[in-house]
């Protein structure tokens, strides 16, 4: 049963993950939370782990969730499921449907999907930041400590640009925030 759920859940993720590595995160979050495979906290940790290990985030998350739900079999199933839609679509496009991509109707759909994905990513990011600074249960409350840490980490990329004239990479940001976490919590 869980295997079927994994298969179905990650097939939909694979089928709808247009665009770059982060585009799949709102989708994965949606699927994973609705099936209750991981809680919000573990999912966030796993995004961090996926970011710091090689490979596309989407595949890494599928492997981890599959493994945590149903061991080796689950991880293989979830990984295959998440890769399969794009595998089949690329083969189809290359073999017969080269012209489909430039079809104006297909392009019209993509023109709608791309800004939508950007919206979804921004919403997910905003909500995740919000979730960290506002404690929702019981009752609404703001954690001052988390606000300060959030502001601190938020400033880091800008500070790096300004004083070191260098862009900070995601992994460097994660390491810095891990250090900040160790000191403050």
């Amino acid at each position: 049963m869980i295997c079927l759920e994994l298969l179905w859940g990650f097939l939909t993720v694979g089928l709808f993950s247009f665009g770059g590595a982060y585009s799949a995160i709102p989708l994965i979050r949606d699927v994973v939370l609705s099936y209750g495979w991981l809680n919000d906290e573990m999912l966030t940790y796993m995004i961090a782990v996926s970011e710091s290990t090689p490979g596309p985030i989407m595949v890494n998350l599928a492997t981890y969730i599959g493994s945590s739900q149903a061991g080796l079999v689950g991880s293989i199933l979830a990984t295959v499921a998440v890769v399969l839609p794009s595998f089949i679509i690329i083969l189809l496009v290359m073999a017969f449907l080269r012209k489909t991509i430039s079809n104006p109707y297909v392009q019209a759909i993509l023109r709608g999907l791309k800004p939508c994905l950007i919206g979804l990513i921004i919403a997910t990011g905003t909500y995740m930041v919000f979730e960290n600074i506002v404690i929702t249960s019981p009752g609404y409350d703001v954690s001052i400590k988390n606000v300060i840490v959030t502001a601190l980490i938020f400033m880091l990329p800008f500070a790096c640009m300004k004083f070191l004239d260098k862009k900070i990479s995601p992994i460097q940001l994660l390491i810095a925030s891990a250090l900040i976490g160790m000191v403050t919590y």
Binding site: F16, G19, G20, A21, Y22, P26, R29, D30, T44, Y45, I47, G55, P56, I57, M58, V59, N60, T63, Y64, S67, L72, S75, T79, V83, S86, I90, L91, M94, I101, P104, Y105, V106, A108, R111, G112, L113, K114, P115, C116, L117, I118, G119, L120, I121, I122, A123, G125, Y127, M128, V129, N132, V149, P157, L174, A176, S177, L179, G181, M182, T184
Partner: protein, 191 residues
């Protein structure tokens, strides 16, 4: 060395060294497949990137499938895709066996508290830089704004609506807008 083994090893090597995925992998794939092995030409590589952008799935995997298919058909496509996925699969599978034990250690748990906050900011950052690259058209902004608001509402009030529904809506709106425009255009041409 047979082409199958070569495909597998080349893509496994790419799979081992690409962090964060996505566009970072493209440079590596270009270096291996266009410059060194000459499996595809530079133009074909550009072409593949365009196709990969318009189809679901991580670009690196799309590229691997394409190059594998060109070199050795179905089997090649399967082997190349397997090659690029396998390293990260093995690494994550190993991590998954130990992560929860790791998190029980005090200082690691507090490190992850900091990381947790960074992830939200990181995602927000990626969203904003994608927004900067987006076509500056009212229509795109409208769709972006509506989907962002819809997703925030879904998250905040835990509405039973999936992100896929929002995507389908956006696709439908864009498609019908185009169809209406196309039809009125044709009618104008007939007159």
């Amino acid at each position: 060395m047979s082409i199958i083994a070569d495909l597998f090893l080349t893509f496994a090597k790419i799979g081992c060294f690409t962090f964060g995925g996505g566009y970072a992998m493209i440079a590596l794939i270009k270096d291996a497949c266009v410059d060194k092995k000459q499996w595809i030409t530079h133009d074909e590589m550009m072409d593949t990137t365009v196709v990969a952008e318009s189809t679901p799935g991580p670009m690196a995997i799309n590229c691997a499938t394409f190059v594998g298919y060109r070199q050795a058909g179905m089997l090649g496509a399967t082997i190349a895709t397997l090659g690029i996925v396998l390293p990260s699969f093995l690494i994550i599978f190993l991590i998954s066996c130990y992560l929860e034990h790791f998190l029980e250690i005090g200082w690691i748990a507090s490190a992850f508290q900091g990381i947790k906050i960074a992830i939200g900011i990181l995602i927000l950052n990626v969203g904003c830089s994608m927004l900067k690259k987006m076509k500056k058209k009212l229509f795109s902004y409208a769709i972006m704004g509506c989907s962002c608001a819809a997703m925030l509402a879904i998250d905040l009030f835990s509405l039973p609506v999936s992100a896929i529904a929002v995507m389908l809506m956006a696709a439908a709106v864009s498609l019908s807008a185009f169809t209406v425009k196309d039809m009125s255009h044709k009618r104008g041409a007939e007159k």
